[in-house]
């Protein structure tokens, strides 16, 4: 591989979406052999900036200059032609095909004798080369769907390399990886760096940025607020730049709550992941469930609520001083559940806000034997929630797809609040939500617990867990490995438990 020093400049990039100023005059410079960390909260503009670089949409104004050449990026194809590869959070791969085919899909090598055909031997040979270069031992002949998430990701990186990309963008690559896979990924990224690629690494995990990146760029509200060398800057300063103020060290301020158990789960087993989970939830407490993605948190909740089949396990609900064994589906009836990805199973995207809000409590609004819907009451309820939670929407009848992520999330919260459930299960409740809304939701959670609701809070954001929970359970590879309470709820402790014995 030729070792060229390359320079990428994105100058004065501005991008507007209807009603939202996503990027405002952002300029960055990246050099080859460097890993640039791109940080900021959700909605700060990181993904937008990279989408512009990836050719997914063009900027409204500004220039992109690669090696002193002005380039136009109107489509992902243009980006590919200019050697830009984008490794997305949702891996893009071709399930039923082999690793080799996935790597060389855009450049399938031809058979020497019959140029119309693909040469299987060549494709395997070249794939092996690229995988070796990345230090991976994946078999090019294996079907990609049989690989783990981390391995799939490496295949995608291999594809970037194989297509001769000189610029590789990573968008939150570690969200779905186990700790071991993360280490493998870092090794690969460093390999890319040694091959003189320009690497942009988007992540909100500051630890990773500090560990991996050479330079950093901080975006806030669509503007560039800071940049420089990682070595020269303290983590606190970077945090300050990200949120615009000092983050008071997330301290847990709660004492132990009542020992009155409301929910008990014994020995829950599901699939290959959940090996036997025991869990108790007390009345009026916020029980934090922490673990990286892939540790089984969402699977646990879905199984608990009957959305995925439970192979074995028992659920006990304590109601009116009585213990009752119930089925997962019955538990679902008693709970409110804010899901992890609202786009997939949290929203009725084409429906108006009010229908989204009342959908969890429809029985309440139906009257009479024919179960007629009292839409007036529904709309009034929606209006009340909108006011209470300060949901920004032109009206309750606006289609929910027109709301920003944070407001959509608030609307989903309203849905469950409307039901007034005894147990509230929150899976990544502040994902894709801006800092202001994050605070509001945090306060809401605390208030709800104070009013007597029992909350199971699942999150991959440690600050959130630490600042809101009364007790914390740490989940790792489908097993609960630790329970923390009181003083034990702090970032250091929880982190070390998660990293614990695997090293």
């Amino acid at each position: 591989m030729t070792i060229n020093k390359q320079k990428l400049e994105m100058l004065n990039i501005t991008k507007n979406f209807p009603g939202v100023e996503a990027l405002n005059d952002v300029s960055i410079v990246a050099n080859s052999g460097e890993i640039m960390g791109l940080v900021g909260v959700n909605g700060a503009g990181k993904s937008t900036l990279m989408n512009v670089l990836g050719g997914i949409y063009p900027s409204d104004s500004g220039k992109i200059i690669l090696n002193n050449n002005h380039i136009q990026l109107q489509s992902p194809n243009d980006a590919a032609k200019n050697g830009i590869s984008f490794i997305h959070q949702d891996l893009l791969y071709f399930a039923s095909q082999t690793v080799a085919e996935n790597i060389y899909m855009t450049d399938l090598p031809k058979n020497d004798l019959l140029p119309f055909f693909i040469s299987k031997s060549k494709i395997i040979e070249k794939s092996s080369q690229v995988l070796d270069m990345l230090g991976s031992d994946i078999n090019p002949n294996s079907l990609i769907e049989e690989l783990s998430t981390g391995e799939k990701q490496i295949v995608e990186i291999a594809r970037a390399l194989a297509t001769g990309s000189d610029i590789v963008i990573f968008d939150e690559p570690t969200s779905s990886l186990s700790i071991k896979e993360k280490e493998k990924l870092f090794k690969v990224v460093r390999k890319l760096k040694s091959e003189n690629k320009i690497i942009v690494y988007i992540s909100h995990f500051l630890n990773e940025i500090q560990e991996l990146c050479d330079t950093y760029v901080v975006l806030r509200n669509g503007r560039l607020v800071g940049s420089g060398n990682v070595a020269d800057e303290s983590k606190n300063n970077i945090i300050r730049m990200i949120i615009g103020r000092d983050l008071t060290a997330s301290k847990n301020i709660f004492k132990e709550t009542s020992n009155e158990t409301i929910l008990e789960i014994n020995n829950l087993v599901q699939g290959n992941l959940l090996q036997g989970i025991d869990l108790t939830l007390n009345k009026g407490e916020v029980l934090g469930l922490w673990g990286l993605m892939g540790s089984g948190r969402t699977e646990l909740i879905r199984t608990m609520l009957g959305l995925d089949p439970m192979e074995s396990g028992e659920i006990y609900l304590y109601q009116d001083s009585k213990t009752k064994k119930i089925s997962p589906k019955q538990l679902l009836k008693q709970c409110g559940y804010v899901t992890e990805s609202r786009r997939i199973d949290g929203l009725f995207i084409s429906e108006p806000v009010w229908k989204n809000i009342t959908s969890g409590n429809l029985n309440h609004y139906s009257r009479g034997r024919l179960n007629l819907m009292n839409s007036n009451a529904e709309m009034q309820s929606a209006q009340d929630h909108i006011e209470q939670l300060k949901i920004k929407t032109p009206s309750y009848s606006t289609s929910i797809e027109n709301l920003s992520g944070g407001n959509q999330q608030k609307a989903i919260f309203s849905r469950w609040l409307d039901k007034k459930p005894k147990i509230l299960i929150l899976d990544e409740p502040t994902r894709g939500v801006d800092v202001g809304a994050k605070q509001e939701i945090g306060s809401l959670i605390t208030e709800l617990a104070r009013d007597g609701a029992s909350i199971l809070l699942v999150s991959s954001e440690i600050e959130e867990i630490v600042s809101l929970s009364n007790r914390v359970l740490v989940l790792r590879d489908g097993v609960i490995v630790h329970e923390a309470s009181g003083e034990g709820i702090n970032e250091v402790n929880l982190m070390s438990v998660a990293l614990g014995k695997e090293q």
């Binding site: 009603g19 959305l307 679902l332 009836k333 559940y337 899901t339 997939i344 199973d345 949290g346 929203l347 009725f348 995207i349 084409s350 429906e351 229908k355 959908s359 969890g360 429809l362 029985n363 139906s366 024919l370 179960n371 007629l372 819907m373 839409s375 007036n376 709309m379 009034q380 209006q383 909108i386 006011e387 920004k392 929407t393 032109p394 009206s395 709301l403 920003s404 407001n407 849905r415």
Partner: protein, 326 residues
Amino acid sequence: MIDNIISTRFSFTKKIKRLISGNNLIIPISITIIAAIIFSLTVPNFSNIRNILNIFEQLGILGFLAVGMTFVMIAGGIDLSSYTVVSASAVVGATFMVATENVFLGCGLMMMVSVFFGTLNGVAIAYLRMIPFIVTLSTMVLAQGFAIWFTKAQSIYGLPDIFIEIFSGRLFNFIPVPAILILLVAIICSFILSMTLYGRWLYLTGENEKTAEVSNINIQFAKFTTYIISGLMAGITAIVLSAVVETSTTSMVRDVRLMDVIAATVIGGASLKGGSGSVIGTMFGLLFITMLGNVFNLLGVSPFLAMIIKGSVLVAVIGLDVLRTR
């Protein structure tokens, strides 16, 4: 984002507006009215009372299938089998009626057969989670095969006079009974869909099954019942059609009619993806399609040419639907 909180009055007009649900109904209603006007001005005999009643009688026959299809499509599915289930139900009931002169039981049998096929569809699709298109495709073949096997490919004549009089007669010597029936069914179904909890379940299930499940809606039940309803509608069609043509055969509803029914629902605002559609829209859509066929007839257009045109119209409608949702 505009930070407006608009206070509103929950008036009667708003209720009507909600019934018409946005701009979904503008298209079917307007093209039907426009077409009606054009046809009555340009096509001889179109606005003749007899012809209009004829149109409404036809509406009365396909209408039930269209209503059934609407339910199914709102919940996100499709039912390709309803038109052959009509034949399957009709021949069983007719054979019984001819043999025993018992109209009541004959009709009952027709309904039972159609609900049986509906259950078959419903169980496979809602509970076994199979793909609606293929399931109903195979049920379609099954029902057709059943009808042929049951009758050894013979048509059944000699249906009891009472039966024919009741279901194909004219009320006050004027309004065709099928038209009254479809009007009743349409009103009831429209009410169910737009005003009841069950209707809300269907729309939400069709819009996003996963979210609906999380919201504690029983999506299996929702989807299952839509196929039962579709089956019921096929049964009603079997009864009405047998009376109107005074015979039960193995292909009472031609396959081209399936296209008409689907076209009607799509014109009426339904989408293959689910979550939208309405009985009113479907009925207007069906009216449009029926008028089209009627006009072809009046103009002496070859039935084959009519097939081409109808097929093309449906293609155009689907194309427009794609544009609409983009």
